[in-house]
């Protein structure tokens, strides 16, 4: 009899755990799951601290050729500058595990960010990959936009041309820019989900 109740308890526990995991997965048009990560300078940042502002999440790996495409061309920095100047919070998140590509020392991250004149609000370190998995981040870059009420309003690619070629940037439709412009103008986002492209996140 005891073992019967034991099995029931285990089933109830695994059901509750599954629900908990499901609740903590990012979904479009739903409240973006909260997280806390430490940036390259040692400062902690909690997503919910930015309630009332638009937040962009940019999955990053400075050694990935798709990330280099958008930084070498200054496309990413221009977007960061344009929207942070309008009050948008821009968080770059690196989910590369220790020893994997893109898991750089803090000094190296600062050097790269300075050389690139990066204009993100913070560069957050997610070595365990927990936040990456919570957002189903698959590629670098992989972009997300969260509205001032904390709702996820865009997830996907940075733009419409899937390549490592800088020459394609001007020809592409920039989905992040389009979604932010629409949202900042008080309109609903017309393209909420696109297929991201890039290197795999190095979990």
């Amino acid at each position: 009899m005891n073992s019967f109740f034991g099995i029931l308890a285990m089933i109830a526990f695994s059901f509750a755990l599954t629900n908990l995991i499901a609740q903590n997965k990012a979904e479009i048009d739903k409240t973006a799951p909260d997280f806390e990560l430490t940036d390259v300078n040692g400062t902690k940042h909690k997503l919910s601290d930015f309630h009332g502002k638009y937040v962009v999440l940019e999955w990053i790996n400075f050694d990935c050729p798709f990330v280099k495409k958008h930084y070498d061309s200054e496309n990413m920095q221009k977007l960061q500058g344009k929207y942070t100047s309008q009050g948008v919070v821009w968080l770059a998140i690196c989910s590369s595990a220790p020893g994997k590509e893109g898991n750089l020392s803090k000094d190296e991250i600062k050097k790269r960010a300075e050389n690139y004149k990066a204009k993100f609000t913070a560069y957050l370190i997610d070595e365990s990959g927990d936040i990456g998995r919570m957002y189903s981040a698959k590629t670098t870059p992989h972009m997300y936009i969260i509205d001032p009420q904390g709702k996820l309003i865009y997830a996907g690619a940075i733009d419409s041309i899937r390549s490592t070629d800088k020459a394609d940037i001007d020809k592409a439709e920039n989905y992040v820019s389009k979604a932010l412009d629409e949202a900042l103008a008080g309109k609903s986002v017309s393209t909420k989900v696109t297929q991201p492209y890039g290197c795999s996140v190095k979990y």
Binding site: K25, A26, E27, I28, D63, C64, P65, F66, A97, K100, E101, G129, R133, S136, K138, T139, A155, G156, R162, S163, T164, D165, V193, T194, Q195, Y197, G198, C199, S200, V201, K202, Y203
Partner: protein, 248 residues
């Protein structure tokens, strides 16, 4: 009246690169004017590297071929060889560690005598092991009118490992964030069967697929893009692959 087309630079014109070697091969040494032939683009990743299939999966980039074709020459069909499923830390990709080929059916123009038809193929790929590097190479071949017809016997060695095309479309529906594919009598699949669309962004590549009451159940990606009314897909089952048209 027949004209023959000599395909020069047959086996093979090859390019080389840091991550992969590209070659071009033809089914015929000569082909009758106005008829079709098959051209294969060979992609041989260097040891440890892999390149990607038409749908690269969660990450990566499909290999592409940009053709420069003379007037009257056209591509009428494309066949990819069967990809491997490559899983790394929960990220699922479809691609190739081995030398593989993409086959293109080429229709030649009628009355093409005394012409030198240059065909150029610029191949762009992404190769990854832990890191990823893009590659690019151009291979060319020439078609000359000729009265001699000859099949390239070596082509049969490479024209394989391709999916079996199933003529009857598979009816599908979407229920509870799953695609439910009605399996017809011509398609007897094992529990190991894996469904992979040629299009990216539809299915959850790392989710378990299963057969339930003559339907193959395929979970959708949590962030799936718009699902077209019909699309082509592969069903991998043991060593075989079936190419199917899915209709909703």
């Amino acid at each position: 009246m027949y004209f023959l087309v000599l395909l020069s630079a047959l086996l093979f014109m090859a390019g080389n690169n840091e991550t992969a070697k590209i070659s071009v091969h033809s089914m015929h040494h000569t082909v009758e004017s106005g008829e079709s032939t098959w051209i294969a683009i060979g992609i041989e990743p260097k040891k440890g590297w892999h390149t990607y299939w038409a749908n690269p999966g969660d990450a990566g980039l499909a290999t592409t071929v940009e053709w420069i074709l003379p007037d009257g020459v056209s591509i009428t069909d494309t066949i990819w060889q069967i990809p491997e499923i490559i899983e790394t830390d929960g990220i699922v990709s479809y691609g190739f560690h081995r030398k593989h080929y993409i086959f293109y059916k080429l229709a030649t123009p009628a009355n093409s005598e005394n012409q030198n038809l240059e065909i150029s193929a610029t191949v762009k790929w992404l190769a990854c092991k832990e890191k990823c590097l893009p590659g690019k190479d151009t291979v060319k071949l020439h078609l000359f009118p000729s009265k001699q017809s000859k099949i390239n016997k070596n082509f049969s060695d490479i024209f394989g490992n391709i999916p079996i095309r199933i003529d009857k479309p598979l009816q599908a529906s979407i229920e509870d964030n799953n695609i439910q594919l009605e399996l017809n009598d011509n398609l007897n699949l094992s529990e190991k069967a894996r469904f992979i669309p040629y299009l990216e962004g539809i299915i959850d590549n790392s989710a378990t697929q299963y057969i339930q009451e003559r339907s193959l159940v395929v979970p959708l990606d949590a962030f799936h893009t718009e699902i077209p009314g019909e699309f082509k897909a592969l069903i991998l089952d043991n060593e075989k692959a079936f190419e199917v048209l899915v209709i909703f």
